[in-house]
């Protein structure tokens, strides 16, 4: 659980600095900020003022900067930019920055990292993506003192803060540890991560501890004496750019990648003994953090200094509560880096040569008033001896080191706890513990158990009671619950961006949590200094998960959305609960306010909640916040038009006229116009080639006429731009007979299979011929030019210009013998471009879906049957049902293979459960009522198989 309130002491915006790298001096007083244009020094005691600024004349951004921490060399600053490292001098007496022109130039690639050695202070390490990690002596920068070979370049290089000669480098996903005196091979090799390591850091208090963070995204802490497994693994949600140890306790501070637009801008503090969630987050930066440093203020007081891409410098207070949570409750008072506390006027000779005091040693000299335990009868000894619980054994007790191991065996599980009691136990600190890795629990359960035990210890601390027994009882209870509830317990992984509620477990009765959940207690504890309102909310939040009725959004939950709108069919539904939060006045401001939470703008703030309560009291809350609008005017397809359009491909002209009338009726005069135009121009085209006006026989197919395919294409493109899929699909369906080559043209002797079709065609031929006179008049008045062109094209000499692909024989006697085969084999004769067949099918599908949404199922079926890919023909009459799902033959109503109802209705496409009817000829059919409706006005099968079902049934 994380709080997100900001607690920065100082924010100052330094717009003109434009720095991309920062470094802090040994005393923590001066900060160096360096960018492409200038290098500036800030006095952190008065951070608004730039103490010194020197301009840089470089084309390259500054990638990295480092300040020497050694007292004797405290004036040295290294700035890496591109392939060059400049060494600057900072004069402490005059606070002047001097560039002596010292620089490392012998590099071949961009410097990615550099670090001064703390104990051999003239040494500086540089790394880049070339083959060497170079170590230079400040006194002679022409040649490196040592070069450590690496196959792939290093992105990070850090000297150990305690060991003089050790160095850690990061190479892609791996890390290496070197002793630079033995530069040929690394001392240790760590396959640390699965993707690129972003940052490494040595623990200043523990020479053996190394932290790495990577793109994968994990943070790992390693003990370099036992590299088989990381000591601590912190799974995080986003890649971490830097993870650094805090000077107090066992804690890491991490930050997200600054190069991301707005990745993680927070600084998270993780306690290594509790890695489920960061214990604190410093949020405030609006963009990624470039770098951060610890600045000692007073005895055991630290300030976190961060420099961000948003060009602000922030100084954050880390009060003792944070330090305490980092496990530094008692010891932290002594782990202070006294190194930092000397004024720089003091004698320098002691500086830098001292190593950091080890925590163990210094704790013995604690001046905090709690004397080391007397050797008489230790209370700890007493406590450990008093443990007498079944299935629990205490072993490996070492009262000097204050450690012991406890074995708990309960409910088929075995857990071994290693306990270590700090000096402050039991008065001011809790025992630290570790669950043995060789346990029968899975990682998930271990995590939960860790949490539970910690909660128990903390409660005991509150009551000033000894806690080992309580901890053991927690373990027993946990194991018992675990055995009782074998269902996988929910894994709680808290996202930094989401303040999580207590995880409501699937079965509250057998919840594996001890009561109350430890997270709750911690959360509440953290919040006690906050306003009572929040405490109340917290109490509610953690009170009774699982009671639905009492649940209110008084919790701080981030909402993905609380208002919005969505189209569906001809409707639009809008909902907004924003007004409930009192956001109606100045709502925009409130919602954008990132003040309190900074995470979800729509998160409730206290004020909003108050407003909401008032609203409720006034009874306004009853107002409905969901409004349904009718928006058919916004559709490019009118549902009424769609319902009425005729798409009879057997009688195109009539369909055109019906549609024109309909469009007029619904005030779509533009559409009416076009339908009429199509009626007069295209009716002739039904029989391309052989059914053209007048006596002359040398006609071009109508599709080549300017009012032929060209017109159709133009109309189609125009209405496509207007999204009128209704018009498009209807037109395409009407023209599908003349447009698609599938139906055979009438043979001289009508084929016995299709007598009806041929008859129909003949009658139409007569009709269209009679209409042509009208057409000629129309065209002469409207498109004289086009008509002329067409007439010209009919002259033999102009044939070429018409994109005909005639062979020479054809040209000799053009158009004379336009046979059926001829029409079939020349795609030019179709009004609809056969090459766009797939595309046209998509238009029809689009319209089908729309009609389906309008629930105009019959219309949909009418259009769908004109699709270019007709369903597989059904063969013969047999009472086999073909499963619509797996297409296997069945004799029952359910498919034996996939056990679904085998028959689906041709109209509504749903499986047929009740009464059904089927055509004996083609086998298609469906729901009785659907079929009845269909055949009231139609005679052909709805699937488009061409079967005249009504007629077929009359056959003897």
């Amino acid at each position: 659980m994380t709080t997100n309130w900001s607690s920065e002491d100082v924010v100052c915006e330094l717009r003109d600095v434009k720095a991309t790298a920062a470094a802090i001096d040994f005393s923590g007083r001066f900060l160096l900020l360096s960018g492409r244009l200038a290098t500036s020094i800030i006095d952190l005691n008065n951070p608004q003022v730039v103490v010194k600024k020197i301009l840089r004349k470089s084309r390259w951004e500054v990638g990295v900067a480092a300040w020497n921490f050694h007292y004797d060399y405290r004036h040295l600053i290294a700035i890496g930019s591109n392939q060059r490292v400049d060494i600057l001098n900072f004069e402490y007496n005059t606070t002047d920055l001097v560039d002596n022109g010292h620089s490392i130039k012998g590099l071949t690639r961009t410097v990615l990292d550099l670090d001064w050695n703390n104990t051999d202070p003239g040494l500086i390490v540089t790394c880049s993506v070339d083959n060497y990690v170079n170590i230079w002596d400040y006194k002679d920068l022409r040649k490196p003192v040592a070069s450590l070979p690496s196959v792939c370049g290093a992105s990070q290089a850090k000297w150990s803060k305690t060991g003089k000669n050790f160095l850690a480098t990061a190479h892609e996903a791996d890390c290496k540890i070197w002793d630079f005196r033995k530069a040929s091979t690394p001392v240790e090799y760590i396959s640390a991560h699965s993707s690129k390591v972003n940052g490494i850091d040595w623990n200043p208090n523990n020479a053996n501890q190394l932290a790495t963070c990577a793109q994968d995204p994990y943070i790992k802490v390693w003990d370099i004496t036992a590299l088989k497994k990381p000591e601590v693994v912190i799974p995080v949600s986003a890649p971490v750019w830097r993870a650094r140890f805090a000077p107090f306790g066992e804690a890491l501070v991490t930050t997200g990648i600054p190069q991301l637009h707005r990745g993680d801008t927070k600084l998270s503090v993780w306690a290594l003994n509790d890695v489920i969630a960061p214990i604190h987050q410093f949020s405030g930066h609006t963009e990624g953090v470039y770098d951060f440093f610890w600045r000692p203020l007073r005895y055991n007081e630290y300030q976190l200094v961060s420099w961000s891409k948003d060009q602000t410098l922030r100084l954050w207070k880390t009060d003792s509560s944070i330090q305490k949570q980092c496990g530094a409750a008692y010891l932290n008072h002594t782990i202070v880096l006294d190194y930092h506390h000397h004024d720089f006027t003091e004698n320098a000779s002691q500086r830098g040569k001292e190593n950091y005091p080890s925590s163990m040693a210094s704790s013995m000299f604690s001046a905090d008033g709690i004397s080391p335990p007397s050797s008489a009868v230790s209370p700890l000894d007493k406590e450990l001896r008093s443990i007498d619980i079944a299935n629990v054994t205490v072993e490996d007790v070492d009262l000097k080191l204050r450690v012991c191991a406890v074995n708990v065996n309960a409910g088929q599980h075995l857990v071994k706890l290693h306990l270590s009691f700090p000096l402050g136990y039991p008065e001011i600190s809790i025992p630290s513990f570790q669950i043995n890795t060789e346990t029968t629990l899975n990682a998930n359960a271990v995590k939960q158990l860790t949490h539970s035990i910690k909660g128990a210890f903390e409660r005991c601390l509150k009551n000033q009671a000894v806690s080992v027994v309580a901890g053991i009882r927690t373990v027993i209870q946990f194991l018992a619950n675990l055995s009782a509830d074998t269902s996988p317990s929910p894994r709680l992984e808290i996202h930094p961006a989401f303040i999580s509620p207590p995880t409501p477990s699937p079965k509250p009765a057998v919840s594996p949590w001890v009561n109350p959940p430890p997270s709750a207690s911690r959360y509440a504890a953290q919040r006690t200094q906050e306003s009572p309102l929040i405490s109340a909310a917290t109490a509610k939040l953690f009170g009774k998960p699982g009671v639905t009725t009492s649940f209110q959004s008084d919790t701080v939950i981030p909402f993905p959305r609380i208002c919005g709108a969505c189209f569906a069919g001809d409707k639009l539904v809008m909902w907004s609960d924003a007004w409930k939060l009192g956001m109606s006045s100045g709502g925009a401001r409130v919602m954008l306010d990132r003040g309190m939470s900074g995470i979800f703008p729509s998160e409730l703030s206290i004020r909003q909640r108050q407003v909401r309560r008032q609203l409720k009291k006034k009874g306004k809350a009853e107002r409905s916040s969901i409004v349904v609008y009718k928006v058919d005017g916004l559709l490019s397809v009118h549902p009424l038009l769609a319902a009425g359009y005729s798409n009879d491909c057997m009688n195109p002209t009539r369909s055109f006229i019906i549609n024109a009338d309909l469009a007029e009726k619904y005030e779509r005069r533009d559409l009416a116009h076009v339908w009429r135009l199509l009626a007069v121009t295209l009716s002739t085209a039904q029989y391309p080639g052989y059914n053209l006006p007048s006596s002359d026989t040398d006609d071009a197919p109508w599709s080549l006429h300017p009012f032929g395919r060209k017109l159709v294409d133009s109309v189609i493109n125009y209405y496509r731009e207007n999204y009128d899929s209704s018009f498009l699909a209807t037109l395409l369906c009407i023209l599908c007979r003349s447009g698609s080559p599938s139906p055979p043209p009438p043979a001289p002797s009508p084929s016995p299979e299709k007598p009806l079709l041929s008859l129909c065609r003949d009658s139409r031929a007569v009709k269209s011929a009679s209409l042509l006179g009208l057409e000629a008049r129309m065209s002469s008045s409207r498109g004289d030019e086009a008509m002329k062109l067409w007439l010209q094209s009919r002259q033999p000499g102009h044939l070429r210009s018409n994109s005909w692909s005639f062979t020479s024989e054809d040209r000799s006697s053009p158009f004379k013998r336009l046979s059926e085969e001829y029409i079939q084999s020349f795609p030019e004769t179709y009004l609809l471009d056969p090459e766009r067949k797939l595309e046209f099918d998509l238009y029809k599908k689009e319209y089908c879906d729309l009609l389906y949404g309008f629930q105009l199922l019959n219309k949909r079926a009418e259009i769908a049957k004109c699709l270019g890919s007709p369903p597989e023909p059904h063969k013969g009459v047999e009472f086999l049902s073909v499963c619509h799902n797996c297409s296997c033959d069945n004799r029952g109503s359910r498919c034996f293979r996939c056990n679904v109802i085998a028959v689906s209705c041709s109209i509504c496409r749903f499986p047929v459960r009740g009464l059904s009817t089927f055509c004996l000829a083609c086998g298609h059919g469906g729901h009785l009522n659907h079929m009845q409706t269909w055949f009231e006005t139609r005679t052909l099968c709805p699937t488009g198989c061409g079967c005249s079902c009504l007629e077929a049934l009359k056959l003897p």
């Binding site: 949600s237 991301l260 637009h261 707005r262 929910p490 808290i494 996202h495 989401f498 995880t503 409501p504 699937p506 639905t548 649940f551 209110q552 959004s553 909402f559 959305r561 609380i562 208002c563 919005g564 969505c566 189209f567 409707k571 639009l572 539904v573 007004w579 956001m583 919602m591 954008l592 009853e622 409905s624 916040s625 969901i626 409004v627 349904v628 609008y629 009718k630 928006v631 005017g633 559709l635 490019s636 397809v637 779509r668 533009d670 559409l671 076009v674 060209k710 017109l711 133009s714 125009y718 731009e721 999204y723 899929s725 099918d841 998509l842 238009y843 599908k845 689009e846 949404g853 496409r909």
Partner: protein, 335 residues
């Protein structure tokens, strides 16, 4: 003819904030979800000729915390609804007769922010969900009655805010447009990115196909226009930076970016109407602007007034642009 008329006001009856409201494909059923852990189903009643009313027919109980989003499956798959919430659950509900039952439940590692069923043309019952740990989950129903899951880990660092299924017919990798379908996803999240994912037909994995970088703040919603009329395709994204961006892909060269509008307040949701001709942007606390595509130009055509206005229906007609104009003939002859 006014373009927007109030048809009905629905009293949700939720005791807490409503987070999502969705119509089914036919516009006859309405599902709402709320912080009070309930999903409510409303059914349209057409008895009165005066207008449609919605009556509450069912409460779906199963979530243990706030429900963030619901999504209806295409009706041919049955009456199926999916929901996701802060309790990290994805639940798939199915109506059988009058009874709703849970057919599938999955508990993720972190709260699930968004959920969406795939378009019917993909031929499979699939759904995608985005979680606050940055994972996108793709569930698909198998013939044997189980649900197979593919995960896209770390799709968006810090959390996925929106997922939207792509046009199945857009830019097929093999075959012609209209012949084959390709499953794609667009997603937006807290890394300010919009990303396009394409299903690999061989192993069912979802590699990243494109990365649309243009926002400077969290992406709140993403919508992919499904329209078969055009070869190009359009994705819109709304972000906390108050911008709505239009991404267009012509099927050959790549994605281009346009700013639809920089709003005065945060745009929250995006929705295309069924024909794909209009885009509704809901922004601020109570404002909706509808844009209409006219030859690639998105023009604002109507804005719903604030809900506080009493006479909503009449009010909204003021800015109506009629779809019909007299220049159609000229336009065609010029072609």
């Amino acid at each position: 003819m006014s373009q927007i008329q109030v048809l009905s006001r629905v009293n949700s009856g939720h005791s807490d904030l409503v987070h999502d409201v969705r119509f089914d494909h036919f516009g006859t059923s309405l599902a709402t979800c709320s912080s009070d852990r309930l999903i409510k189903i409303f059914q349209v009643q057409k008895d009165e000729h005066a207008g449609q009313t919605f009556s509450h027919v069912a409460d779906l109980k199963g979530h243990e915390d706030a429900v963030w989003q619901v999504s209806w499956a295409f009706p041919l798959h049955g009456t199926v609804l999916a929901s996701c919430g802060y309790d990290r659950k994805i639940i798939i509900w199915r109506q059988d007769g009058r009874q709703w039952s849970i057919v599938y439940e999955y508990v993720h590692d972190s709260p699930v922010n968004c959920i969406s069923f795939a378009p019917f043309d993909l031929g499979r019952l699939m759904l995608a969900a985005g979680a606050s740990d940055g994972t996108i989950l793709v569930l698909s129903y198998q013939d044997d009655g189980t649900w197979a899951m593919k995960k896209i880990p770390n799709a968006h660092g810090l959390g996925v805010m929106a997922v939207s299924w792509g046009d199945p017919f857009f830019y097929p990798l093999n075959g012609k447009r209209g012949d084959t379908v390709t499953a794609r996803l667009a997603s937006g999240g807290c890394d300010n990115m919009v990303k396009i994912w394409r299903e690999n037909g061989d192993n069912g994995a979802w590699p990243e196909e494109s990365r649309l970088d243009g926002h400077t703040d969290w992406v709140r919603d993403v919508a992919w226009r499904i329209n078969r009329l055009f070869e190009h395709t359009t994705v819109v994204s709304a972000s906390q930076d108050r911008k709505v961006l239009i991404w267009r892909h012509d099927g050959h060269t790549g994605w281009t970016r346009d700013v639809l509008k920089v709003f005065d307040d945060v745009p929250w949701t995006l929705s295309f109407n069924p024909t794909g001709s209009s885009l509704g942007v809901f922004w601020g606390t109570n404002s909706m602007t509808v844009f209409r595509d006219s030859n690639g130009q998105w023009l604002p055509i109507t804005e719903t007034p604030s809900e506080d206005e009493e006479n909503l229906g009449d009010e909204s007609g003021h800015n109506t642009t009629s779809f019909s104009n007299g220049s159609h003939e000229a336009a065609m002859v010029n072609h």
